[in-house]
Homo-oligomer: 490 residues x 2
Amino acid sequence: MILEINKIMEHAQEAFLSYQQVSGSKKKEFLYSIAEEIESLGDELLHTASEESHLPFARFVGERGRTCSQLRAFGDLVGEGSWVEAVIDQALPDRQPQPRPDMRKMSISLGPILVFGASNFPLAYSTAGGDTASALAAGCPVVVKGHPSHPRTSRMVSSAIQKAVGKCGLHSGVFQHVEGVSFELGKLLTQHPLTAGVGFTGSLTGGRAIFDYAQQREVPIPVFSEMGSTNPVIVMKDALNHRSPEMAKAMAASITIGVGQFCTNPGIILGIKSSVLNHFTSLLAIELSLISSYKMLNEGISENYDSALNKVLQDKGVETIYHAHAEGELMASPVLARVHADHFIQNPELHHEIFGPFSVIVVCENKSQLLQVWSMLKGQLTTTLMATDHDLEANKDMVDMARNIAGRIVFNGVPTGVEVTNATVHGGPYPAATDARFTSVGMDAIKRWVRPLCYQDCPDFLLPVELQNANPMGILRKTNGVFSRQALIP
Amino acid sequence: MILEINKIMEHAQEAFLSYQQVSGSKKKEFLYSIAEEIESLGDELLHTASEESHLPFARFVGERGRTCSQLRAFGDLVGEGSWVEAVIDQALPDRQPQPRPDMRKMSISLGPILVFGASNFPLAYSTAGGDTASALAAGCPVVVKGHPSHPRTSRMVSSAIQKAVGKCGLHSGVFQHVEGVSFELGKLLTQHPLTAGVGFTGSLTGGRAIFDYAQQREVPIPVFSEMGSTNPVIVMKDALNHRSPEMAKAMAASITIGVGQFCTNPGIILGIKSSVLNHFTSLLAIELSLISSYKMLNEGISENYDSALNKVLQDKGVETIYHAHAEGELMASPVLARVHADHFIQNPELHHEIFGPFSVIVVCENKSQLLQVWSMLKGQLTTTLMATDHDLEANKDMVDMARNIAGRIVFNGVPTGVEVTNATVHGGPYPAATDARFTSVGMDAIKRWVRPLCYQDCPDFLLPVELQNANPMGILRKTNGVFSRQALIP
């Protein structure tokens, strides 16, 4: 296995030497070509993904759309070119006591990136998902460790990418696909000297293991593990008074979407003891009862869900509000539970994510207890405020608290459904992710795979086009402190 | 000790809760005030620094200037405000199948930052140096572990900062100064749960130790250790033919500046065997002989220099070209050595940095051997090409190689003298630094201490000013994909 991994990583490194120099427009052509090749796999890809994941066919129509538009969005980003954050400080030959040299910098790619795709998004966050798209856009070759939960889907997507590599005349090491189920394989790939960075999406156990493997390296590399969270939702009084039915409907859909297998699944709902909270709880139970049960992704996830559920529901401090009791192999029962904050505070095991269609309402005595519970929860991808302007005006301190907890604060929406935009943050304080300074979704996901390089007094003809005086791509650059797309007079 | 550290970090965390919300203009006032307080310490500070470091008084006139202009530059940066990289993607209410929410993001501060200052820059990279200035600018409280090599200097600067804290009416936990010589202290501070990030400047041993302490944490935090390097300089044929005298003069000054105690000190010079290389070598020896010897920073550094030197010069494959033989306590002897590439390749211990006024010329048989040696060297802060345009045109592949080795490529200059600009990169592939994606010098040093936070559908009145529709600060924002300073129509 070690010999094979050496071969793969050396092939990726060889590809890196040429791929790092490929132009933005060529990379755009490549990313668009991957999208086209995935689309030309047709319904067979969607059927395969559906079969392997037990998620409905229709879901994959949407997920393919997201995957391909994400690839094209990264293509547009690098085709336009300003993403490299070019900065130019021209020389100051008359500066005293010494002249200042000409300093120019831009982002360059890190090297071969290892991607561990997610089981819950076989298209959008797996083989050709956000990590792969952003790394390829950055100019990094990618080695995907295919997820064993959807091997055929992964192989199909992989062959589509390889076709695009061929069509664009790129080095075959730009994209490689590795299969295997052993932890050892992931460890060896992570620890290989030529691996320059790792993207992981999955469980805390898995993400932390990859992170720890990387920590044993002599040469540290960036590891971005996105590991999900409980995504606490705060339901506030005035909102409960005026909007409980809509809130319950939206929340029930969010708890059960993708059979609860979203990293942004709202697993904990916090509210202050009141009749309106009780009413909301009943409405939420009713809404959940209207939603069908579905199969989970795989046996491991299904068993973990059932056992975590059993454990929680056997806790005498936890009240079962709704339990679907779905029957059959892999079937997941949506569950709504309720617990008093006093009990919740004393039982840290209730604070962990339960991956599946489960949510627990934590009933707090008052605002100060709610703040106590909220701040006890660890780092989160998201936290949500269900609140009217009246609620928010009276509780501005709660927005301050939300800032320090999560990567994204949602107001009067649901945390599931992560938009791919320039402003997206999908990450957050640990254990939501291993480095809160980056996002794995949205355009800035590319920043994980680059480093700045500075050229001091470099002759213009040797500079990358992004830093040349003429600015042939017309990109936005920070020149002598001012942002501009202009060419520069030397 | 643990109790005391708890108190310090809790105090810093308490300060964080208010300091993270302080406006850019207030932070600017604060950073300017620190600069003023340092300046008002007058010559006493410079004499103290000179006494403690054995570096000349005049050097500290310049270093104080750098320190204060760096503080003011970060003040200007946060006063202006665009550094937060505000991104706004307005809602698309008509998007199908679902409306898109309003997404806005900006950088927010991480929390209390621990700074280990450098011994070799008692002002510019120590107590109120680049790490402290950038972290305070970011909105992070700072705990400085004072460098035991200049305790009085550190105390004086520390009291200046504390005065500025008081004058600006900030929480006293915004800046704290800790003294102690034990490794245990550094370890406990690094591993404290409330420490949100670490900046270190110093040796590979020290920087790696801090990095490893951090790896034992449950919650990972960013550790930016800048650990110096050998800064390989390539001297090319046409340049040697035409400019050897100037090159030798500049290189001798660069090797000996600050008694060779710069992290960008040119420790390895690579050239191809030739009579011009021999001539350059002689000229360099002559230039070195014209430079006086000085005392080193402290006993430990002086002993390390002497013993590393002895070891290298006893190597039979290493030829001593110039050896100053300075006498007296702490005195450093500038040394120029020469070695054939065949021998250098086989002796990896010659590849390590020798901290002091030492440089070794590696004589290569031909270009391919030069490339082999160059690529064997590990990650570097800088690499320098002494080359005419004629040299460079004929050797474009060497610029490609330089890209993958260093954080900064210098053309026809010396690596010492790191400018503080927007385009500066002081960092590089490991072991130059622990995360090549960041810089510790220049304006972007601030990026180490922030993370992005996304607000989804947040009411305008609750948004930070940087993200409000009205854009009251007039900062540059990426709005719906376009950079603009305009206010936004909701």
